[in-house]
Symmetry: C2
Subunit: 441 residues, 2 copies
């Protein structure tokens, strides 16, 4: 079953993640412009400051966000949360983001710095309480506000805003830290009425590599008009099934933030919770958020595999998710995946210690566990456990083939209900230990 380290190395080198996952073109939502610069906060001179701006004036924009639940919340998280609450999710027209410094665990001074970033952008756009701020990078260090201030001046001055592909890609680059590729996704959707709209998203993160790299940021913007409460409901639903369903190392940072702006630049009736299109848009946003979140796992520190953990036929969604998370976070499952070992025992074990809300969710005699190939090769499914009974004579050749894939699926059929949850995880490699054992040095 063991694959030689040479082969592992080779299969790793075969993936040019930038070529595979970074788009080369795209169209973007109406009424948004973006700006970016290298402020100097990042010592190597890379892009490290970005602004997303809503320029549509036809109707008020709406905003929603999901923030980290870590009890140590960074200054930009606390500050943006307050802005959003005061604005009641309306008239947020700018997001300013910097990388290189997370402005986290920086006390009162850090809170002031976050507010100054907001005030600088509010001044530029001539509006009050209309800007959200986000920061990512090293924690426990103060922002170099002179550089940030000069950078914001530059973006609103000589650097100019743009709405073309390169501008969006550069903003996606400006929020990166240990990411090996920028994460930009854009997609057009159609509603039954024929109305077309666009979702564009960016994310950063290459591990819940908290909080030194202070961590997961995600932005989604759309030109569809969505009422603010409906928008928050959609984003919360989508985040629960996307950004909250990924595991690199199971650590949640002080800065995690996912936010969404809807500017209503498309001339159609505003969608609220009672609209007939509400459910469809919610699902489209969810699927879109999943694509974005999956890119974070694909860039998981040191990872060689992208693994979908699919828990189905569960009594409750929440318990399906708890089981998917338990498998996805298990160090033993992750090392087995790295070692390309069809170790069903570790998967069962992680299911067995998951802390379920309802014990009836799991019946040890009904469970089915399989590896699923994602490359159209046959047989697609390799059964490891059938109705609670381990398959002692597994086709080891086929197991090797599936486990050698860069993408694969672990399928768990609980057989206790009709609910399902997915998680996306990566393997735990020597490289992960090297990256995280040496980072701060």
């Amino acid at each position: 079953m063991r694959i030689s380290s040479t082969l592992l190395q080779r299969s790793k080198q075969l993936i040019d993640k930038y070529a595979l996952y970074v788009p080369k073109t795209g169209s973007f939502p109406k009424g948004f412009e973006v700006g970016y610069t290298a402020s100097g906060v990042k010592k190597n001179g890379s892009l490290d400051l970005g602004v997303i701006l809503n320029t549509n004036k036809s109707r008020p924009s709406t905003a929603a966000a999901v923030f980290t639940t870590n009890k140590f919340k960074a200054a930009p998280v606390l500050t943006s949360k307050k802005v959003l609450e005061t604005a009641r999710g309306k008239n947020i027209n700018a997001i300013v983001v910097n990388s290189g410094c997370a402005n986290s665990v920086t006390g009162d001074l850090g809170m002031k710095d976050a507010q100054v970033m907001i005030d600088l952008v509010n001044d530029k756009i001539g509006q009050k309480n209309s800007t959200l701020v986000m920061s990512t990078g090293v924690i426990g260090q103060r922002l170099q506000m002179d550089k940030i201030s000069t950078g914001i001046n530059k973006i609103f001055g000589e650097e100019k805003f743009g709405s073309d592909f390169n501008s969006w890609l550069n903003v996606a680059k400006s929020i990166c830290t240990t990411d090996t590729f920028p994460k930009l996704v854009t997609s057009r959707f159609k509603l039954p009425s024929g109305t077309e709209y666009t979702l564009t998203g960016m994310a950063k993160g290459a591990g819940m590599i908290c909080p030194n790299m202070a961590t997961l940021l995600g932005f989604i913007v759309t030109d569809l008009p969505i009422e603010s409460k409906a928008l928050q409901k959609m984003l919360t639903f989508a985040t629960t099934r996307s950004f909250n369903c990924i595991s690199v190392d199971g650590d949640m940072s002080t800065n995690d933030t996912i936010c969404m702006l809807a500017n209503g630049a498309i001339d159609t009736k505003e969608i609220n919770e009672d609209s007939k299109d509400f459910e469809q848009v919610k699902l489209q946003v969810t699927e879109f958020a999943q694509r974005l979140a999956q890119l974070v796992v694909r860039d998981g520190e040191g990872s060689t595999k992208f693994v979908t953990v699919n828990v189905k036929n569960a009594l409750h969604f929440e318990d399906a998710k708890i089981i998917a998370e338990s498998i996805s976070n298990s160090m033993l499952v992750k090392t087995a995946l790295y070692g390309q070992d069809a170790n069903w025992g570790r998967i069962l074990c992680a299911i067995g210690y998951a802390k379920l809300n309802d014990l009836k969710s799991l019946d040890v005699n009904k469970i089915n566990v399989s590896f699923i190939a994602t490359d159209n090769s046959e047989p697609r499914e390799l059964k490891l456990v059938a109705n609670g009974v381990p398959q002692l004579e597994i086709d080891e050749t086929r197991a090797s083939e599936i486990l050698a894939l860069n993408d694969l699926e672990v399928s768990v059929d609980l057989g206790t209900g009709d609910q399902a949850a997915q998680f996306w995880t990566c393997d735990l490699s020597h490289e992960y230990v090297t990256i995280n054992g040496d980072y701060r040095s």
Copy 2:
């Protein structure tokens, strides 16, 4: 801050764990005899079968146990649980243990095999429902009952039982799997009345390396007479503060069992919950169990460090424990320890995402975090966070010295109450990934 890999290698080689942690002599509780053999279940011919026997007839023995809460419980766990319940914790006079095969996820046949092991030993001692069984090793494989049966005959036949140091050490060896040294602890205690008694314990485990190596087993025997309910209460209390407070990789196996026998061979009044000595014996058993549990962490797979996580001045014991566990299980904290990096950010982060029962347990403005040297060098304490404020000018030379130690302490003072909890953990190394990436192969 980074220590060269050569230095890491060297500091690792300096620890001869066998010489440091395996006793060379010891005295044992009255009325117990032990037997052992190499049954052939382990292919390499190592010891793999052991029996602990109570021979004291002066009064009935008592027994207690704490079993894994994993929903996939191995056959010996389910079978022993039933024996203990039927016996109501009384008249258990033998424990039979094998290594090399965990008899886990083996269905009805596995249940029968576990019962046969019990029946064989019951027959030998001429008693009914008096034997507990435990197994550890590979899961999903059936026990080779012919070898087990021959082995039990040998132990009760030509191999003979003994109560000397070598017999005890050999039983400790017979329960090992990936352990690099046998874990045997024996100690004499004195009660205020002048009565002396002995605790002897054995454990196996080198990681919660579940369930392939199927995992943590611990046995404690004493010659003190302890009423069965009081014994269960003591063992549960002790396990909560010892075997349940260790982390190698956070995975809990299908076979985890800690059990305790008290044979009352010492001529003194039986201790029950109302006895004046109850609290003292409980604390002595707890401290003893901690010594035994710590040996499991010291043998943690691939580990180079033994780290005590000390959470004090907490509002509740349970929340102190949840925080200690969160720090101890964090992959980022573990890799930072391996990299000898004074990364307080990762420790704060793990504290911040711990799922507390009472949010008032954590006040982000009151928290103190330090590294503590354990080698009597000064200054003993290196403050990383004081009253919620990170110490930005840490003495990096001193940090390097403390982090280069094989033993160190992470101290977290929550400042919200007067409760405390401890966890013992180890670092996450390249070696761990190698061991667990390649195991089943």
